[in-house]
Chain length 458, copies 2
């Protein structure tokens, strides 16, 4: 059978694929840092070249106002379905650098069967599995069993708007039956999963301004508002000790967990004690009335991502700073609307902000949550492909992360996305020592190769 | 009269003194920054040389475990009182640099009669007035009318312990009738003041630790405590919307303002509206039931000086950080004990800190508040000297700043300190664009020269 020849090819090229992945990981394509713009472009160029070498058609770098898109297609399977493979070549900033166990997060290190580097799992390593699966088919069979479109972007980590613009302007070009994305995690080692739900996101930066200049806290303290104290007061008001967000109207549209979901989640092999020990926290906390999995997957949250203001250098300094800021976000669940949450957040800050300061709120990016039906031909094909690639049947799970494009593809192309994650939940994506299992890398490639076959119509 | 010759000399040397001050200000003697240690020593050396050139005796750099002390004395006025002039040659960090209106805070700029530089008023410029007054006497009369000891340190801005050790070990050598310090402000332009009260200080750094590594806020948010959210919660708990510190026992030892103080403060030409406009704040805030001057001078406060943790670079990053920190201090009034406040603060944090995190509290430095009696021969001499130097009679005020040495001299030497401040309250000490009025510089020199004469006994 054709698939057997493909798998033989994939097995024979394991080390070639690993070296190619290393080369891609060496490119510090941090989309958030404008001084890295050339590197970000270099990563796009790498992906474009790889797609051209594989033998896809219409391979192109598509310019945008910021980072380019990479597009390719192979549409020579008339009567067969079409999938759109989406991924991103940009990565999160690697900072802070000290906690990394390697000198350079962009010089991959292999240890205990994992490849360590910024972007290893999110999303370079996972995205690359699909390219290698396409290569397997093209280099052996010389064709693909279904029609495939590939769209790889470079602004995922900054919530850039250029993909959205491109998709909206190219709905016909991108038409497909399903989108396939590998940018999530398996449930656990040896427990691959199909992710049918994602949280949404509403991300803000809150900047509080006090006096027009920094002041001496002895001479002025107690007489004027301190933006740092005020910022703490506002941030503390966002969540109660019961773990609930205290913003008016925030929970109104929240869709409750269904009975089957709570029952299925409870059956999963998940130990709260092991989870706690792995993270090294003294206890697990969160919204009252929910299990850890329910909190992670299906309840909205509020996290501060960064605090800045005043003096944080060596030694004490008794300054009363004129400015303080925080980056924070809300993770959303169906059917919360990020725009409505932005309005609720702004109204809340207006209500709780004490006098004596001004503030500004920057809205970084937002996306609604996603829920995909689990009973469809595409989901069934994915179940069979993962079983073939990983040797075990996938479970169904939800995810706390946000992949805004899933909502975009639903809205613009009218299609569901299959979230086939090859990562592990301790892969440290967005943190130091990000990694990706090389076994999962190769199993992912195989599952993707099988997926193309499983999608064929008789 | 001798004093007339001195004053003539001082008038003739205005530009010489200004150039010397500039040279001193060019030395970036930031005691908190260890990479500046050589500069800090260079400032000490500058002061030592100046005292030697003036003609004082026993001029010496005294080594400590960190920054050296400078000592000098002139004790050839038998039967006359002895004063100890104290000052400091170290300065606050100049950061942040952007708000400065000059490229280098250590390259003095003269504008509108003010000299702008880090340390201009705190305390290089003010400290230097006394050296120039001594020079005036020595270079004209050839002697001083009273006995003088000079002790200039380099760890004032970091609350270093080495001055304390030296004073405790040299009580006999430093014996005097009064300490004289110029490290405070006048009440306003043309309204010189004697400061009879200072606030104390208790300074802490609070560091909150969560998981053992940074996490992805989507995958882990809502399931583990976020140190940044927790830090905000703890900081917000320190003060109520009424401006009162909400730590148990904090106010118990607070000595209430006396009726004469409230009456005198109320008579001072102080416009809350002008104060507000000068600072550029939308309103003045503070502890309910007190005027702005009362809050500034005589009520305890709590200010956060710095916040750090997570990502504060360009663009959004959805990290759930493993660590967050804050620098904060309480300004204290009589009779609050900094050690007792430290215990109260620690007990408070232990009480309000939510589960799921650990924390550490670093104690930076502390000092009790000070009140000096206003009816003594030394205060009377200072009133006459300031009237002679500034042409107007000083008022009595308190100050929100902390000068820990005042308590040290009281405890170790048993003497009161005369706080004769030549600065202005908009001199931006500790902030960007620190300045010192050159008129005040020269009036301060004259007042100091008069002070030596006014102290003589018949």
């Amino acid at each position: 059978m054709a698939i057997d020849r493909v798998i033989t090819f994939l097995d024979a090229h394991r080390s070639v694929f690993e070296e190619q992945l290393k080369t891609l990981l060496r490119i510090p394509s941090v989309s958030a840092q404008s001084e890295r713009d050339n590197d970000t472009r270099a990563a796009a160029e790498f992906v474009r070249k790889d797609l051209a070498t594989i033998g896809l058609n219409e391979v192109a770098l598509i310019e945008t106002k910021r980072h380019p898109l990479v597009y390719a297609e192979w549409l020579d399977a008339p009567g067969q379905p079409t999938i759109l493979i989406y991924g991103h070549y940009d990565v999160q900033p690697a900072e802070p650098l000290e906690p990394w166990n390697q000198p350079d997060p962009f010089e991959p290190v292999i240890r205990d069967g994992n490849i360590y580097a910024r972007g290893a799992t999110d999303d370079k390593g996972q995205m690359f599995t699909h390219l290698k699966a396409l290569e397997g088919w093209m280099k052996t069979v010389g064709s693909l069993p279904i029609n495939v479109k590939v769209l790889i972007e470079g602004e995922e980590e900054i919530g850039g708007k250029n993909l959205e613009i491109f998709v909206a302007e190219n709905r016909e070009k991108l038409a497909c039956d399903y989108v396939v994305i590998s940018d999530t995690s398996q449930f656990a080692l040896g427990l691959p999963a199909i992710t049918y739900g994602l949280k949404g996101l509403a991300y803000f930066e809150l900047i509080v301004h006090g006096a027009k200049t920094d002041l001496h806290s002895g001479m002025f303290g107690g007489a004027v508002a301190n933006p740092l104290n005020v910022l703490a007061t506002i941030l503390a008001s966002l969540m109660g000790p019961d773990g609930k967000v205290r913003i008016e109207g925030f929970y109104d549209p929240v869709r409750p967990l269904l009975d089957w979901e709570r029952a299925d989640f409870a059956k999963l092999p998940f130990s709260e004690a092991e989870f706690q020990a792995k993270l090294g926290v003294t206890s697990l906390v969160g919204e009252e009335g929910y299990t850890t999995l329910e909190r992670k997957w299906a309840r909205p949250t509020c996290d501060v991502h960064g605090l800045y203001g005043g003096y944080s250098g060596e030694g004490p300094k008794t300054v009363l700073p004129c400015k303080a800021g925080a980056k924070l976000s809300f993770r959303l669940v169906p059917d919360q609307d990020p725009l409505a949450v932005a309005e609720q957040f702004k109204a809340h800050v207006a209500k709780v902000c004490p006098p004596g300061v001004t503030y500004e709120i920057k809205e970084h990016h937002g996306a609604p949550a996603v829920l995909v039906g689990v009973d469809s031909p595409g989901v069934h094909a994915a179940v069979r492909a993962i079983e073939a690639g990983f040797g075990t049947r996938p479970i169904f799970m939800r995810e706390g992360g946000s992949i805004p494009v899933v909502g975009l593809f639903k809205t613009q192309l009218g299609v569901d996305t299959l979230l086939l994650g090859w990562g592990q939940d301790d892969d440290n994506l967005h943190g130091p020592n990000e990694k990706f299992s090389l076994d999962d890398f190769h199993r992912g490639i195989k599952a993707s190769a099988h997926l193309l076959a499983e999608f064929t119509r008789d």
